[in-house]
Amino acid sequence: MSMRTPLKTVRHLGSAKEGTDHFWKQRVTAVANIVLVTGLVWLVVSLVGADHATVKAAISNPLVALGLLMLVLSGIIHMRLGMQVIIEDYIHGEGSKIVLLMLNTFFTIVVGFACVFAVLKLSFGA
């Protein structure tokens, strides 16, 4: 007789208790990135060879700034999940794996916050 309750089946969270969280976030951010990256490419192409004042004016446009901020958020979540899989696939030492997974989080947060700070400074700064 099984001692398991039907609740386990209902929750579908598996042994890591995360369920399809990783998979789902990767997909949601992937879809968001299609739109946001297309916007970034358009922005960068329109600013080729532009001087500082033009670039500053373009990025401080509220719609552009919002798009960039959302791209950074969606992008770093996607990046972090993707690199996490690469690390888990190839790094088998428990210690180095944990260190690299931490560095992965730190890297994405540092890059993300640097981008956000720059966009906000361009938007609100003098």
Partner: protein, 134 residues
């Protein structure tokens, strides 16, 4: 289970075949490239961060960074960045289609592979054509 415990557990077990066993196929190659472009884009975001920080820093530093991006080496790196971005995006779309349970036929899988390669090159060329001729 009882047999495995009686000294046979040290016997070499067959391993599942890894990539070097298979002949090259387009879907396999595109899968590997998808991971490589993902890794490249991961570090490529440093370029985006650098560009934004340069713009936020001021005109003289922005001109300096803008000049680096506009140099031959800068253009080569940005061209590669563009292609990696397009290829990873199209590869991702392929995965999103597969997520719906569609497109697993052998012919479709091969077609997706070639399409993602072909379209990524076309898109990259189109972006650079517009960027350099606008």
């Amino acid at each position: 289970m009882a047999q495995a415990d009686s000294g046979q557990s040290v016997q070499e077990r067959p391993l599942s075949p890894h990539i070097q066993i298979y002949s090259n196929q387009i879907n396999m190659l595109m899968s590997i490239v998808h991971r490589i472009t993902g890794g490249a884009l991961y570090f490529g975001t440093l370029l985006l961060a650098w560009w934004l920080i340069a713009a936020a820093t001021g005109p003289s530093y922005f001109d300096f960074v803008s000049g680096l991006f506009g140099s031959i080496l800068g253009k080569i790196i940005l061209f590669g960045y563009t292609w990696a971005l397009m290829h990873h995006m199209l590869g991702g779309v392929r995965h999103l289609i597969w997520d719906t349970g569609r497109g697993f036929g052998l012919g479709t899988v091969r077609l997706f592979g070639w399409l993602s390669l072909f379209c990524s090159i076309i898109l990259t060329a189109a972006i650079w054509f517009v960027a350099t001729n606008a």
